[in-house]
Amino acid sequence: MKKLLSLLFISALGILLLYVVANMPPMGDPGAPTRERVIPRYLEEAEEETNTTNVITGIILNYRGYDTMGEVTVIFCALACVLAVLGREKRGRIYAFVDRSTTPSSVIVKTMVRFLVPLIILFSVYTIMHGEISPGGGFQGGAIVGASMIIFSTIFGLWEASERIPQKLRAPLEGSACITFFLVGVLGLIGGGNFLTYAWPRISSSLQPAVVTWLTVLVEIGIGLGGAMVFISILFSMSREEEEIAPAA
């Protein structure tokens, strides 16, 4: 009954959406209304104004810097909430799932993971540092580091993983994305512009492009480091398993 009702509701919604889709402008049309005002300007002038070849990075970090600052704060808040709900992982009482299973992971898997994880982290560093001239950026690089730690802690267990990236290292770096953004914003104020101005008006215009590039790279590194640490901390605090709270049913 409930299934039938919900199917009816969803098919009604689907017909409504289909009607809307039928009235939308054709996809891929160069004269579509989504390409009208600000898009050509971004595409043509982003390179000179933000000094980044990748227009998307220019938009995220420069034109929409406030937006990204709020986004970084959102991840940090998510981490704070997860830690408030679950608590940090506690060394000494961690039993990862793999450790308790009767079949340990084979030598081949362990060797391959040990071989691959540094390469994955190297790739993430490339993604972060190359973000303004090629596809990539801070969030993507941070996500890649998080993925590498997921592989590692699945195979070797939480004990080993949190020994490699200890809590003492993670805790100060988790807020680095917010802090970097705020510092760059205040530096823009000191440089004579508004909050989050990358091209400081007080310095000579020949130096400005270099300053803009380095500030962009700095923000990318901050976002990458902070995002990676936040992802790893969320992962660790979720995969905590305590003996006395083993699944009851």
Partner: protein, 130 residues
């Protein structure tokens, strides 16, 4: 045949409906969360295909790429933000689910509601006897 030409939008619509159906019908909370993520993905897909351009290139200005042939960069920048927010929401929801499982030992919504009502009525009886 504009409807057939906009088949990306139809795909996003179908994904959205599948996600919504999962959220409504499934009783397992984890499956509900997966449905929520499918809905989010459909919205991202819709936005990205809004920025598509026939024969378009990536909006990266290397080697004298022609700006008028680049795809729309705004949806991509917006969706990058959206993905991060979706990840945050999923992480928070999963942590709450872990807490629920530790407390009640089940992820079934009907079971959880029954436990809740049983506890409530039990408390009421105790108060009544007192």
């Amino acid at each position: 045949m504009r409807l057939l030409h906009n088949y990306h939008y139809i795909g996003a619509m179908v994904l959205f409906c599948i996600g919504l159906y999962t959220v409504i019908v499934r009783r397992n909370i984890i499956k509900k969360l997966i449905g929520l993520n499918i809905m989010e993905t459909s919205v991202f897909f819709f936005y990205i295909s809004l920025g598509y351009l026939d024969g378009g290139i990536a909006p990266i200005r290397t080697g004298g790429a022609d700006p008028s042939r680049m795809v729309n960069p705004i949806p991509q920048a917006l969706i990058l933000t959206g993905i991060v927010v979706a990840v945050s929401v999923t992480a928070l929801a999963l942590s709450l689910v872990i807490l629920l499982y530790r407390q009640y030992g089940t992820l079934d919504v009907d079971h959880l509601m029954r436990d809740e009502t049983a506890q409530d009525s039990g408390v009421g009886e105790e108060e009544a006897t007192q």
